[in-house]
C-alpha cells in the first residue's frame, strides 16, 4: 500500500462521512470555518462538501495572505519598485495582485526592475551581487513565512549588508480569527485551524477561542481525510459539550510551535498598532513591522511612501468571501467580470484564494448558481 492511501482511501472517506453524519444532531446546522486557504483548496479540489451531510456547512476564512494585502500596500511597493536604483524582489504569488494602479506585472512591463524569488535568501543574494542598487524584498504571508523574513534580516545584519531592506506586510492569524469572532455577520460553531501556521505558533495561541468564545478548534492537515477527521473531531466536541483546541496534524505541528522561529520574529519584528486587511478593514495588532533595532532594513523607513489607502472596487465582494459571509459563487462578479485571467479581487488571484479554487475546479454550475440565487443566505447564514 502506498503511504498516501491512508489519507485518500475512498472507503475510509465514506466510513468517516458516515460517522460524521451520525455525530450530527438531527435538525441542527453546524457551520465550521476553515481558516487556511490550503484547506479551502483541498475542500474544493476533492469535492469534500459532497461527502458531508447537509447539516454541516463549511465556510472559508481569511487565511490566504495574497488575498488580504490591501491595494494601498501594493501601490506603495510599486512606488518603491519604480525607483531606478531599486530592485524589487517578490514571491511569484504576488505578481498579479492588483493595486489601485496596476500590479507588479504591470509595473515590470513598464520598466520597473521586479524579480521573482523563491526565498528571501535569494533576494539577499541579489543584494550581495548588486552593491550599487538597493534591493527590497516584498515580504508577505502569515506566520508561515514571517520567520523566513526574520532569519533573512538577521543574516543581512550579520553581514552588515547596507543595500537590503524588507517591505514588511506580514500578518498574523490570531487577530484575524478574533475579528471574525467579534463580527456580527457570521455565527460559527467551530474552526478548522491552519496547519503550517500552527507549525510555527503551536496550538496554545488558539486557547482563548475555546475558553472565551466557547468554540472548538481542531488544527488540521491538508489531506482530504485530515479535513474530514477534523470535522468529526469538532462534532465530537460539540456532542460532548466540550470546547477545546485539538491537534489533528501532530505529524507536523508541535503543541508549542517552533521556538527558534518565534524568537527570530520577536527579535526582528514588532507589532503594528493596526493594519488594513483587504476586505476586512483595519484590525488592531494584526500585523508585523520591522523592530526599531532593524530600522536600517525597513523599507518603510528607508524610502518615502505615499501610504495612501485605496478603496476596493465597488463590485468586488472579497471582504464578504474572506469573512465567510459569502460563498465565492454568491459574489456578483464571480466567473463573469472576475476570473483568474482578469481578476478584480484578490480571492481570484491566488490559487489558494477561495474564488480561484472554486473556479479552477469547475464546481460551479448553473444549477448550483441558481440554487444559490434561490437561497443565498441559507447557505452562509444558518
Amino acid at each position: 500500500m502506498r503511504f498516501v492511501d491512508e489519507y485518500r482511501d475512498a472507503g475510509r472517506a465514506r466510513a468517516l462521512a458516515g460517522r460524521i453524519a451520525e455525530s450530527c444532531r438531527p435538525g441542527r446546522r453546524y457551520t465550521f470555518m476553515e481558516v487556511c486557504g490550503g484547506h479551502t483548496h483541498t475542500i474544493y479540489k476533492h469535492g469534500l462538501e459532497d461527502h458531508l451531510p447537509s447539516e454541516v456547512n463549511l465556510v472559508h476564512g481569511p487565511g490566504c495572505p495574497v488575498c488580504v494585502i490591501p491595494m494601498g500596500r501594493v501601490d506603495d511597493a510599486i512606488h518603491i519598485a519604480r525607483r531606478p536604483d531599486v530592485i524589487m524582489t517578490s514571491f511569484g504569488d504576488m505578481m498579479r495582485v492588483p493595486g489601485g494602479s496596476g500590479s507588479f506585472l504591470d509595473a515590470k512591463a513598464a520598466g520597473a526592475d521586479i524579480r521573482m524569488v523563491y526565498s528571501p535568501l535569494d533576494a539577499l543574494k541579489i543584494a550581495r551581487a548588486n552593491p550599487d542598487r538597493r534591493v527590497v524584498f516584498m515580504a508577505i504571508g502569515f506566520e508561515t513565512t514571517a520567520p523566513s523574513t526574520a532569519m533573512t534580516v538577521l543574516r543581512a545584519a550579520a553581514e552588515d549588508l547596507g543595500n537590503f531592506s524588507v517591505f514588511c506586510n506580514h500578518v498574523m492569524i490570531i487577530p484575524a480569527i478574533k475579528a471574525i469572532l467579534d463580527s456580527p455577520d457570521l455565527r460559527l460553531d467551530g474552526f478548522i485551524g491552519p496547519g503550517h501556521v500552527s507549525a510555527v505558533i503551536g496550538c496554545r495561541p488558539y486557547e482563548f477561542i475555546a475558553r472565551d468564545y466557547r468554540k472548538p478548534l481542531v488544527v488540521a492537515g491538508f489531506e482530504p481525510l485530515d479535513i474530514l477527521t477534523s470535522v468529526h473531531m469538532l462534532l465530537g466536541q460539540l456532542a460532548e459539550g466540550r470546547c477545546e483546541v485539538e491537534n489533528q496534524y501532530t505529524r507536523v505541528v508541535p503543541w508549542d510551535g517552533n521556538r527558534i522561529a518565534l524568537s527570530a520574529m520577536g527579535q526582528v519584528m514588532r507589532l503594528r498598532p493596526h493594519f488594513e486587511w483587504r476586505g476586512l478593514g483595519f484590525i488592531a495588532h494584526s500585523a508585523l513591522a520591522m523592530a526599531d533595532d532593524y530600522a536600517a532594513f525597513d523599507a518603510e523607513r528607508v524610502f518615502d511612501l505615499p501610504g495612501l489607502r485605496v478603496a476596493d472596487p465597488k463590485s468586488c465582494q472579497c471582504g464578504e468571501v474572506l469573512k465567510g459571509v459569502l460563498k465565492p459563487w454568491e459574489c456578483k462578479v464571480f466567473g463573469t467580470a472576475c476570473t483568474p485571467e482578469t481578476p478584480i479581487g484578490t480571492c481570484m488571484v491566488s490559487s489558494e484564494g477561495a474564488c480561484a479554487a472554486y473556479y479552477n475546479f469547475g464546481r460551479f454550475s448553473r444549477e448550483q448558481i441558481s440554487a444559490a440565487a434561490r437561497e443565498p443566505r441559507e447557505a452562509s447564514r444558518p
Binding site: 502506498r2 503511504f3 523563491y118 526565498s119 535569494d122 504571508g141 522561529a261 489558494e352
Partner: protein, 90 residues
Amino acid sequence: MCLGIPGELVEFVQEHEDLAVVDVSGVRRRVNVGLLADEGLRPGDWVLVHVGFALSKISEREAQAVFDYLQGLGQPYADELDALRGSDIG
C-alpha cells in the same frame, strides 16, 4: 509561497552551519535549516521546506503523502518547483 514541500536532507554545507542541501523530487538545492537547530537533523532526515527554510521535521511516510498531495495540486506545485529550481541560496 504557502506550500510546504518535502525534501530529504543530503548533506550540510560545511562553510555555513545553517545551510544544508536537500533533494526535492530530484531537484537539489541549498536551504536554511536554522529553524530546526533543536531537532538534531542528520542526512537522510525529511523536512518540509517553506520559501527556502526547513520549517518542520517530518517522517518519510509523511513526506511521501505530502509529495503526492502536491502533485495532485498541478500548476501551483509546478510553479513552486520552478521557483525552487531558480533558487540559489548562498
